[in-house]
């Protein structure tokens, strides 16, 4: 189980280690960013023993010990468990892992112990496999292939700790190689996972582990063709949805994994019919609303954003395939407009990237829904949106899209927007360096002026004429054409 508390223990250490921690984190973040750009973003998880603390820098027993231990185990005897424990500790070391898999019959030994009659040995054997699965070397995953049919079989067993270890082991090895993933699919990992969650639905640690394993499976590049159709056809979607609401005692972790699985499903594939039919949109929305409220209240010390993020994405992508007529029924009466606006504002200074994602969801909500646009106006949310316009990196462009969506619906909305201060906001955004901001601002301005020609005068009185004239000299032809057209056809003709 993952607890964010553990991280805080580390942070509570003395200054040196805190600084080291920060540096390490920043480096790691850079590496992750690059990995994502290379489409190679994969992580593994290591389940520690209860008696271990994270990051304990135990002196690694060393490669030699691995060889020795293996030889002892290989030569028979009844004290196997006593040697399996140190072996699993030894296998935490990456080079020891490589050494081990190169030893002849090493995997055969482990599989034998995994499937033997001694339950304690089984547990230690799976722990060894788990350590191996965490290896940074992708060749190790392939070496674990002989164990996979058993790991999958054990998923329908009853031993919770054991099952947890199997799940994390499977989750760790499946992104490492195509061969492993295909073998797992052929061996029925998807129905096994479905069955596992079903059986252990009340053990949230296992559910979390299963969610992780499924997430790993869904990361493969051809997931949309090879994995997702089978997942959608199984009982997994409804199970994932049923786990979404966080348990107050256990915490967010299982919900986090399931939400990320749902995000992987909705963002890799355009087929949302099944999920929509299961009420995914409604459920994600209502959960988002309650979590969003907590975030807006400043309650961010529990890692809520780890759950808010995938939920936002699910809602955003599900909205994009929901036909306009069905929107109201799909949302099931959940009012999203106000909570989303609050969330953008709340996240802006703490997590601007998430604020941008929230604005994206608002765009999808307002694109074809006159009701949502009307709500933005009647609930007096427009001034808050206008306050977001100075912020860059995609936030203001997305907010401008939302405002444009509103303006596009009705001329009356244009007038209301102008009354709420949009015109003067536009005189500022038209001067921004970002061409997308300028283009969208011109589009909105055009809609307002066409709807209500008196707005042209108001715009001019706010000093808008000179900025439009300046825009006629912009390096972008599309921008120039718009400014010129607006000036000639709608502003200068008013005189």
């Amino acid at each position: 189980m993952w607890r964010l508390n553990k991280v805080r223990h580390k942070a509570g250490g003395h200054a040196n280690s805190l600084e080291e921690l920060r540096t390490k984190r920043r480096e790691k973040e850079r590496a992750l960013r690059q990995a994502r750009r290379d489409r190679q973003l994969v992580s593994k998880r290591l389940l520690l023993n209860e008696d271990e603390e994270q990051d304990t820098m135990e002196v690694a027993p060393g490669e030699q010990d691995v060889v020795t231990l293996f030889q002892i185990l290989h030569h028979g005897g009844t004290e196997k468990e006593a040697f399996l424990r140190p072996l699993s500790k030894a296998l935490r070391d990456p080079s020891a892992q490589l050494t081990f898999i190169k030893l002849e019959n090493s995997m055969h030994l482990l599989v034998g112990l995994l499937t033997g009659s001694d339950a304690r040995c089984r547990l230690q054997a799976v722990r060894c496999l788990h350590e191996l699965s965490h290896s940074p070397h992708t060749s190790v995953a392939s070496a674990c292939l002989p164990a996979t049919p058993y790991l999958l079989t054990y998923l329908s067993g009853q031993s919770t700790k054991f099952t947890e270890l199997c799940l994390y082991t499977l989750g760790n090895i499946c992104p490492d190689s195509e061969r492993v993933k295909e073998r797992l699919l052929a061996q029925g990992i998807i129905p096994a996972l479905a069955g596992c969650i079903q059986n252990h639905r009340h053990n949230l640690a296992v559910v979390e582990a299963a969610g992780f394993a499924l997430f790993q499976l869904l990361q493969s590049k051809d997931a949309a063709q090879k994995v997702i159709p089978t997942v959608l056809a199984s009982s997994l979607p409804s199970q994932l949805l049923s786990v979404l609401t966080p348990d107050p005692d256990f915490g967010l972790a299982p919900a986090i994994e399931c939400a990320w699985c749902l995000h992987s499903l909705t963002s890799s594939s355009e087929n949302h019919r099944e999920l929509l039919a299961q009420g995914a949109l409604r459920q994600c929305c209502s959960l988002l609303v309650s979590l969003g409220g907590a975030v807006a209240d400043g309650n961010t010390d529990q890692g809520l954003e780890l759950l808010v993020c995938p939920l936002l994405r699910c809602v955003g992508n599900l909205l994009s395939s929901c036909p306009a007529e069905a929107l109201h029924s799909q949302l099931g009466g959940v009012d999203l407009v106000a909570p989303l606006c609050e969330l953008v504002v709340a996240l802006l200074h703490t997590l601007p990237a998430l604020a941008k994602e929230t604005a994206w969801v608002l765009n999808n909500l307002t694109a074809h829904s006159t009701e949502s646009c009307s709500a933005l106006l009647t609930l007096n949310l427009v001034p808050r949106l206008l306050e977001l316009l100075p912020f860059s990196q995609g936030i203001n462009t997305m907010v401008l899209r939302v405002l444009a969506n509103v303006a596009h619906k009705k001329k009356e909305f244009c007038v209301r927007l102008a009354e709420l201060g949009l015109l003067s906001a536009l005189t500022a955004t038209l001067k921004m360096a970002d061409q997308n901001v300028v283009t969208l601002s011109l589009e909105v301005l055009f809609m307002i002026i066409v709807s209500c020609p008196q707005m042209a005068e108001q715009f001019v009185s706010q000093g808008g004429l000179s900025v439009l004239e300046a825009i006629q000299y912009n390096s972008d032809g599309e921008v120039r054409r718009r400014a010129t057209y607006l000036l000639e056809q709608h502003i200068l003709t008013e005189k």
Partner: protein
């Protein structure tokens, strides 16, 4: 944030799928949209984002920091949101500003009150008027041969002089102006400068290379292309007088073969449509009627 087509699919819902009855009120069926030449294209779009989309980058990195036990929930390390910069629109002017005030100051100082003919920037509407009159108005040139036409630059003085040199003396003597006052260049100097400029630059360069030359600060190019500009009927007389005025200048300086052929070609300066001049002041630079671009 431009969304790359290869990882994003836009789904613009067709009109048949939109439901509400007030279509006439919105822009969907608006007559405006069907007007030819209307460059405005916005329509609301549902944006579906593929999992690899760059918009998702930060959240994904977050997620993996959590998986690798490096996640910290406190806001201490989160970056502050960045604020949009303001950028001068004038093509070629790469000035960027962090506040609106700086932008306004830049624009008002360097790009307002710009002469449509030679693209010089003058600090005020009045000086612009005087400049246009003295440099680009052939009628002025004719009248100046017989009467005092050179107006004192100090507002309220009102005195006029036969030559610009006399005015300059007046400015120095009476108004204590410096002898090298930047906004009182005479046309003779302009001629030399313009000729040398022509030798340097390409005819393909549409605008003067010094919209703000008077300040000597930056070099700004007006990016308006020649094929965008039309000959205005009402400008024909003006144009020919322009040409005449400019050919006068060239007679005063050495001519290269290039400048000779340039004389025969239509000059770029009068091709700038009236409606695209900067500031209200420059409207007065054209004595002719305001034309409409077709």
């Amino acid at each position: 944030m431009m969304l790359q087509p290869d990882v994003v699919r836009f789904i613009a819902m067709g009109e048949s799928q939109t439901h509400n009855g007030d279509e006439e009120e919105g822009f969907r069926g608006a007559a405006e949209q069907q007007v030819e030449g209307n460059p405005f294209t916005f329509s609301p779009q549902l944006l579906r984002l593929h999992r690899d989309h760059e918009l998702f980058e930060d959240g994904d990195v977050f997620r993996h920091m959590y998986l690798q036990d490096l996640f910290i929930s406190e806001a201490e390390e989160q970056p502050a949101p960045s604020v949009s910069e303001f950028g001068c629109h004038i093509s070629g002017c790469r000035a960027v500003f962090s506040t609106l005030h700086e932008y306004e100051h830049h624009y008002n100082s360097l790009h307002r009150h710009v002469c449509c003919s030679c693209h010089r920037s003058l600090p005020s509407a009045r000086l612009l008027d005087i400049h246009i009159q003295e440099w680009h108005d052939s009628l002025f040139t004719i009248l100046a041969q017989k009467q005092d036409m050179y107006l004192c630059l100090v507002e309220g003085c009102g005195q006029k002089f036969r030559t610009s040199q006399q005015r300059k003396d007046h400015l120095i003597r009476l108004h204590k102006y410096p002898p090298d006052f930047r906004f009182d260049k005479s046309r003779k100097e302009k001629g030399t400068r313009e000729a040398s400029r022509e030798q340097r630059t390409d005819t393909a360069v549409e605008a003067a290379d010094d919209v703000c030359r008077s300040e000597g600060v930056c070099e700004v190019m007006c990016g308006v292309e020649s094929n965008q500009l039309e000959q205005e009927e009402s400008m024909e007389t003006h144009a020919s007088s322009e040409e005449a005025a400019q050919s006068e200048d060239f007679s005063a300086s050495a001519q290269t073969p290039e400048t000779n052929t340039e004389r025969l070609k239509p000059r770029y300066s009068y091709r700038v449509p009236k409606t695209v001049c900067f500031g209200h002041g420059s409207v007065r630079g054209f004595r002719g009627q305001r034309g409409r671009r077709k």
